[in-house]
């Protein structure tokens, strides 16, 4: 598998680390135990197109949101995580 890092270009799988489904959003402070449980433990485990967190740790150390098909491993989009590129915020 190869992932096209938006910063580095296409790189081989070995440079990346996987975390998992990018859809669950960390509940805000004060969320109930049930909400946090859902975030930490339950997964849609999609057979198809899924949005995922990957880390380009063997490269530019950016966290990436990768849209990938779990049936074919086809990658259709790669975006930086929300906090990458913060230098340009407000520019």
């Amino acid at each position: 598998m190869r992932i096209t890092c938006p910063f580095c270009g296409e790189r081989e799988l070995g440079e990346f680390t996987y975390l998992g489904d990018a859809k669950p959003v960390r509940p805000v402070a004060g969320a109930s135990e049930g909400e946090v449980f859902d975030y930490v433990y339950l997964r849609d485990n999609i057979a198809g197109v899924m949005s995922e967190n990957w880390y380009h740790g063997g490269g530019c150390r950016a966290w990436l949101k990768v849209t990938r098909n779990t049936l074919t491993h086809e990658i259709s989009a790669v975006e930086p995580a929300a906090g990458v590129g913060a230098a340009k915020v407000g520019a």
């Binding site: 996987y18 930490v40 433990y41 997964r43 485990n45 779990t70």
Partner: protein
């Protein structure tokens, strides 16, 4: 039809024309007391134990392809009961005891081979962790031995003891562990269950659940029509989330790909099952002569049943680091299976929040060794509506309560288990 050397010799005289089907080719009935989704080892074992142990014979096993086409037919055939945490320890030993009588129970030679499983350690910390685990096993009446370097050298003189990056210091040995012929386990359960009246229905894909007004599951929709059921048990590891979602359930499970490898057949080289403690590699040699080996999962969600090169290389690097004698042995085949990776690395055998639907899932990459035990306790749950004592901790609600069974201590990150 009873299998034996005598029946074989008799059949030889007639040119083997008289053999019957190993399991009946059943057509679905309208209704069964229990319908089991999934014709893998676990589903078939469950059916056999329902029929043989709990007297429930009006049972169907529904398989979307051919029986054993999932992980039962695609694993590295290792059996062992060397677990360290309450919940796992007793359960896997129950399973091991059932392995030890399997051929006689089923009248089918599944080649259960108790050749020993050794986990090598390479540091004091690893030794201590194994000692803790081995002592747990002994306290639970399970055989376990802590070997020092000299004992390991004697047993496996072919390991790299001279110039290893992470020298072997010793190992934790379970002599009763070993291997079994994976396909034969499936066929054996199918054969024996079919003889007791269980219907094994292949090419029958479940497409939905039939629910009554109260939401109770009363049957399944399939590619071969609607089939009524008193209870429905799911044993579809690899596809658990997909099937559960038809009943509106989200599970603490991710599907990941695990690769396995086999080499060309060679004369006996490796006598036992070996796991490398300083890399991702484990190996045994099949009776046919191939080295069967594997390592870590690829590490990302996948239903594609194929792996990628980095992990293949990683596994072979581990193999060469541990036993550089295999350098010129050739890798013959590589395959990938879908693992039901749970959030704590341990299985789930429980009722679901949906009445009438029972779950057997989350086996990670350890499901094969659990086959008889899983069938036994799942049959118990289906028959008695309560967990078997040895499966009482495999609850679905343990993630909510925090009573997880996390052997590796990696938390809610399935690809690290």
């Amino acid at each position: 039809m009873k299998y034996s050397i005598f029946s074989l010799a008799r059949a030889a005289l007639s040119g083997h024309k008289n053999w019957q089907r190993t399991w009946r080719d059943a057509t679905p009935k309208d209704r069964y007391d229990v319908v089991i989704i999934g014709g893998g080892g676990h589903g078939l074992a469950t059916a056999w134990f329902l029929a043989s142990e709990y007297g429930i014979k009006n049972v169907a096993v529904l398989e979307k392809g051919w029986i054993g086409s999932g992980n039962a037919g695609r694993n590295t055939t290792i059996i062992r009961s060397n677990y360290g945490l309450p919940g796992n320890t007793g359960f896997y030993e129950l399973s091991m005891k059932l392995w030890e009588r399997m051929e006689q129970d089923l009248n089918y030679n599944s080649m259960v081979s108790q050749r020993g499983v050794i986990n090598l350690y390479h540091s004091d910390a690893q030794r201590d962790a194994y000692a803790r685990r081995g002592n747990t096993m002994r306290i639970n009446g399970i055989d376990s031995e802590l070997l020092d370097l000299a004992a390991v050298k004697k047993m496996m003189p072919f390991l790299n003891f001279d110039n290893a990056r992470f020298p072997v210091q010793g190992g934790l040995l379970q002599r009763r562990g070993g291997t079994a012929r994976h396909d034969a386990v499936v066929w054996g359960y199918a054969h024996a269950a079919s003889e007791l009246g269980v219907d094994i229905i292949q090419n029958c894909e479940v497409t939905g659940f039939v629910r009554d007004a109260n939401g109770k599951v009363t049957g399944v929709e399939t590619s071969r029509g609607r089939i009524g059921a008193g209870k429905v048990g799911m044993a579809v590891a690899g596809s658990s989330s997909r099937v559960a979602s038809m009943a509106g359930l989200r599970l603490p499970i991710e599907s990941h790909v695990l690769q396995a490898f086999v080499s060309e057949a060679i004369k006996p080289l490796i006598p036992n099952v070996i796991t490398f403690g300083a890399g991702h590699f484990y190996v045994s040699q099949s009776d046919k002569g191939g080295l069967v080996f594997g390592g870590d999962i690829d590490g990302y969600n996948s239903y594609a049943q194929r792996g990628n090169m980095p992990v293949m290389e990683d596994v072979c690097e581990g193999g060469m680091a541990l036993m550089p004698m295999i350098g010129r042995v050739r890798l013959l085949r590589q395959w990938g299976g879908i693992m039901d990776m749970s959030m704590d690395g341990s299985p789930i055998i429980d009722k679901t929040p949906v009445d009438g639907l029972y779950l057997n899932a989350g086996w990670c990459y350890g499901g094969f060794k659990a086959t008889p035990g899983s069938g036994f306790v799942f049959a118990h749950l289906l028959a008695r509506d309560e967990s078997h004592a040895e499966a009482a901790r495999f609850r679905l609600d343990r993630f909510r309560s925090g009573a997880v069974i996390d052997e590796k201590g990696q938390g809610a990150q399935p690809n690290l288990h």
